[in-house]
Amino acid sequence: MKRGEDLLLSSRSIRKRMVESILLIVAIALGIGAAGAGIAMMAGTAAESRELLASPEYREIVVSIREDTAEMDLPVAAVDEESDLVLTTMDLKAAEEAPDVQYAYVAGRTRYHLGDFRGFGPGQPPQEGQAAPDPADMLEIEELDGYEVSPEFFSAWSMRAAEGSLFTEADMAAGEPLLIYGSELAADMDGAVGEQIVVEGQMYTVVGVLEPTGTDYDNMAFSPAFMPDLQMNDMMAMRRSWGTTLRFAVSDVERLEEAEEQLESYFSRTYGAGSVVISIPRAEAEAAKVRATRLATVVLFLSLAGLLIAAVNVSNILYSRAVRRHRSVGILKALGASMRDVFRLFFSEALLLGGFGAVLGIGLSVLLSKLMESSLGFERISAGVLGAGILGAWAITMALTVFPALQAARVPAAEAIRNE
């Protein structure tokens, strides 16, 4: 029999049993959608973990004076109020004791308060002998998120200036108040290189705008890290140093722990045991990766179970359909259909249903993967992986429809005609 007749009979059969056919199509679509979503989640998690661990910060050892509890990469909580230690760029020389350290830099999370406070701010009364400013002359107070960094920070993160220039060691030594904008921040601030802005009463000069990085850094500002020889009182030094971290990047991640011990030895000797907190963000990232992978594996298992349940049900419904059509099989055989012809007819019908189901299933998979991209923060899920997952799910479903088609083909013609 020609393929055209197979499709004609199959499509008529589908139309004749419309409700059942719609249920079959939905079951196939849900199975494929579930499997596609599970595979997308697994692939997204794997890619995310790969990308995360490839990030420069996960080759680093972080030294700070505070417990690192709020974020993996930044110590922001549990301030050690008793500590009077101030970490500065001078402490980067600890790297000399750790041969595997490739480079080191300072990164201190900070907020730049725009506007001229002149010693007071909103809600804070003027100090004695100081005239209250005219509110009309006050600049709009705005905060910029950012880091005080040493120049190696930019090379560590492969950041380049799209406009102007980056800091140099000389800039840091000079103690000039300089500022670099991330690409998106520059657009938001409508800022240009050479522009001067007031940050907490001090005039900063914008010397550069970074190329887009696709990270949060695009919305941040950067200024030279705190230098030890700057003249400032203890309180100011302490306040500025609270968020300061020293970052030591190791060339081989296998040597992180060894380098950590070497650095710990330096800081214990220099400032006393336990004076600084040394952490390896990679360890936490790897633990997070394991957790995410386990979760994705469970989701994948559930989605594949869903696929299997859907496929078995599709197979069952098609089988019962084949049983109900025994008489038709007998008639077809009487008209000259061979077992192969009958098999092909029933399998064509399954393929047709599978085709409709696959179209819906692809839509569902793509929708769910987009949802994952947006809600779980995955990068774009590979179309190849998603496509292979969908194809695999469809193939499993179709493989299970072979059974009812075979059963139909094997029905003895005389018995089929006699039945019903």
Binding site: M1, L8, R15, R327, S328, I331, K333, L335, S338, A413
Partner: protein
């Protein structure tokens, strides 16, 4: 044309074995018009199914033009059913989802005939049975007599040499049954061999040869009138008589 030698058909029903046919031997010549008669459950439909290779005997031999066709592979048996046999059933057995035209075209698709020729021949066959005005009607929109005429047109699609009819008028009122019988007899006059199972004595008498089956055994084989190929003598061969 057809020779059955000591055909047996047994069904295994668990511990019980049912003999549907036992030691049936027959010789059917080309152009014969044979009526197979017998009470319900006597085995006449089983015999018809075996003749149409819809069922395989459990013993004996079935020779078509000298070849033992029970040993042929499924594909070859299907080809023989398609090219050489035409089936007409009591309950018409049309595909309800296909139009009259599509039902008639269906057997031709297994014969590898092109779509345009299939359509052309199906239109002609339906015209021959007086249904030119019902080409695109679904079976449910046709009367019983019309459905049976579509079934006859379908049986003739590949110009078979043998028509196997299982009580073709059983579900029809007598006037419509008569029309169907006329068509079948016309076909026989054109040289098509007819083997028809019937309960109806009158229909049995109109055939050229009557075979009686009882409890799976061939009870009688009577030549009633001359046919195109059979011996022109009405002879009676009563087994055991």
């Amino acid at each position: 044309m057809i020779e059955l030698k000591n055909i047996e058909k047994r069904y295994d029903l668990g511990e019980v074995q049912v003999k549907a046919l036992e030691d049936v031997s027959l010789h059917i010549e080309r152009g014969e018009y044979v009526a197979v008669m017998g009470p319900s459950g006597s085995g006449k439909s089983t015999l018809l199914n075996i003749l149409g290779i819809l069922d395989i005997p459990t013993g004996g031999g079935y020779f078509l033009e000298g070849y033992d066709i029970t040993r042929l592979p499924d594909r070859e048996q299907a080809r023989i059913r398609n090219k050489h046999f035409g089936f007409v059933f009591q309950s018409f057995n049309l595909f309800s989802e296909l139009s009259a035209l599509e039902n008639v075209m269906l057997p031709m698709s297994y014969a590898g005939i092109s779509s345009s020729k299939r359509r052309e021949r199906a239109v002609q066959l339906l015209g021959d049975v007086g249904l030119s005005h019902r080409l695109h009607h679904l079976p449910t929109m046709l009367s019983g007599g019309e459905q049976q005429r579509v079934a006859i047109a379908r049986a003739l699609a590949n110009q078979p040499s043998l028509i196997l009819a299982d009580e073709p008028t059983g579900n029809l009122p007598s006037d419509k049954g008569e029309e169907i019988l006329q068509i079948i007899e016309d076909l026989n006059r054109q040289g098509v061999t007819i083997v028809m199972v019937t309960h109806n004595d009158e229909q049995g008498r109109r055939a050229h040869r009557r075979i009686d089956i009882m409890d799976g055994r061939l009870e009688a084989d009577e030549r009633l009138v001359s046919s195109r190929a059979a011996a022109p003598v009405a002879e009676v061969e009563r087994r055991g008589a």
